[in-house]
Amino acid sequence: MHIMEGFLPIGHAAAWTAIAAPFVVTGARRLARQLRDRPQDRLPLAAAGAFVFVLSALKLPSVTGSCSHPTGTGFGALAFGPPTMAALGTVVLLFQALLLAHGGLTTLGANVVSMAVAGPWTSWAVYRLATGLRAPQGLSVFLAACLGDLATYTVTSLQLALAFPAASGGVAAAFLKFAGIFALTQVPLAIAEGLLTVVMVNALEARGMAALSGKLTEVRP
């Protein structure tokens, strides 16, 4: 759910960049501290960032028959932790803008808020809640990835609604419009990404990797 370059008015682009900044700076400081304490984590972290980039480029079969790409936010949050995902996600979104012309520089802040902050934190919270309620692991992972994906699309709809309020009904009507249009593609995709994440986590755990530790880059695989 990238917002393309130039799509947001300059005031909104600046405001979303300011909102994203504390999360990115906190995540970046945490990463910098981790790298000073454990310099050997530098390349696994880089590999994790590249993995999230490649994961988001995979073509995902959708229930409606169309094809799109996973966000990778749910898996990233469960495997690497939400603060790390804020920093890694920003790097990934920057490279997507520069190397794929997908997203943009002026919309980087808005995309970071939806895909590197809201999505991962929602996934993390849902996973914690589901495991706290003793839900089976597969169901917890599915809900985390699926709802994390839906959270990114909901936040994107809100960002667009704030930028382009309806003439009658204002932001609320515009939000319902954008959310209604995107739901046609994003709800099936969120379900597909939830299922994909369950398959990935099961396969990684079968290989002995702590895929749900939130600290995968700190654990020697």
Binding site: M4, R42, A50, F51, V54, L100, M200
Partner: protein, 245 residues
């Protein structure tokens, strides 16, 4: 991904100072956002495209092919502005087409400005530039290493995908989902293993977290900067004059 990076690495503008290219491209990007979409956006689009193709030596066919992908997303995004929603469901707004067209112009101008920068400047130059502006070295090196891993992992994922497809791994949504899950689950351990081996090799050579490379000295030319500022001023002036006329 590879096409933008290849064009950036081989661009005749590769050796120009990043500050000059950023001034021109980001200046045009800013103008795309603040000028009225018509005719300001159209002028920015024309100037950015003409500069990339005519001056920076990007082949027109390749520029168009690269521009087409984000432009498709711009078109579908702008189409949502033409629609309204009420109790009767979705309907076309009376002034929706005008709003959508304005968005297409503005966003296409912004995308072409971004492409002017990304097609003439490798991503590594951006990271080095950000480091000069204060990005912590640990993060800059991690971003540079991420950039390096992108292409290796993309190639590996493409080979895995071809191998699975040859075994009918993508025959139907259920199989496709299982194959993709298996692909990703096989790719991550490989990525970590490659990172571990690289880290061991670098540590054996005294790696302290920074890969120091010699960078060619690139002097900012006052003449080029003046030309860039004159171009930006002309675009801004023409856009505003034509809008108010």
């Amino acid at each position: 991904m590879a096409s933008i990076d290849r064009l950036a690495q081989t661009s005749p503008w590769r050796t120009l100072p990043l500050a000059e290219k950023a001034l021109l491209a980001l200046g045009l990007l800013l103008l795309a956002l603040v000028l009225p979409p018509w005719p300001g956006g159209a002028i920015v689009l024309a100037v950015a495209a003409a500069t990339a193709i005519g001056l920076a030596g990007i082949p027109a066919a390749q520029w168009l092919a690269i521009f087409a992908a984000p432009f498709g997303f711009v078109l579908t995004g702008a189409a949502t502005l033409a629609l309204g929603w009420d109790s009767g469901g979705f309907r076309f707004l009376p002034d929706g087409a005008v709003a959508a067209l304005a968005m297409v112009l503005r966003s296409a101008a912004a995308v072409s400005s971004l492409l002017l920068l990304s097609l003439t400047t490798p991503a590594t130059d951006f990271v080095r530039g950000a480091q000069r502006l204060g990005l912590p070295p640990e993060l800059a090196e991690t971003a540079l290493a991420t950039y390096g891993f992108l292409f290796i992992l993309q190639d590996t994922a493409t080979a895995m995908h071809a191998s699975q497809a040859a075994r009918l791994g993508y025959d139907g949504p259920g199989r496709a989902l299982r194959s993709l899950g298996g692909l990703a689950a096989a790719l991550l351990p490989r990525a970590f293993e490659r990172a571990r081996r690289l880290e061991t090799g670098l540590a054996a050579r005294g790696f302290d977290g920074r890969l120091r490379v010699l960078a060619a000295a690139r002097t900012i030319s006052p003449i080029r900067v003046s030309a860039i500022l004159a171009t930006l001023a002309s675009v801004a002036g023409t856009g505003l004059w034509a809008a108010w006329r």
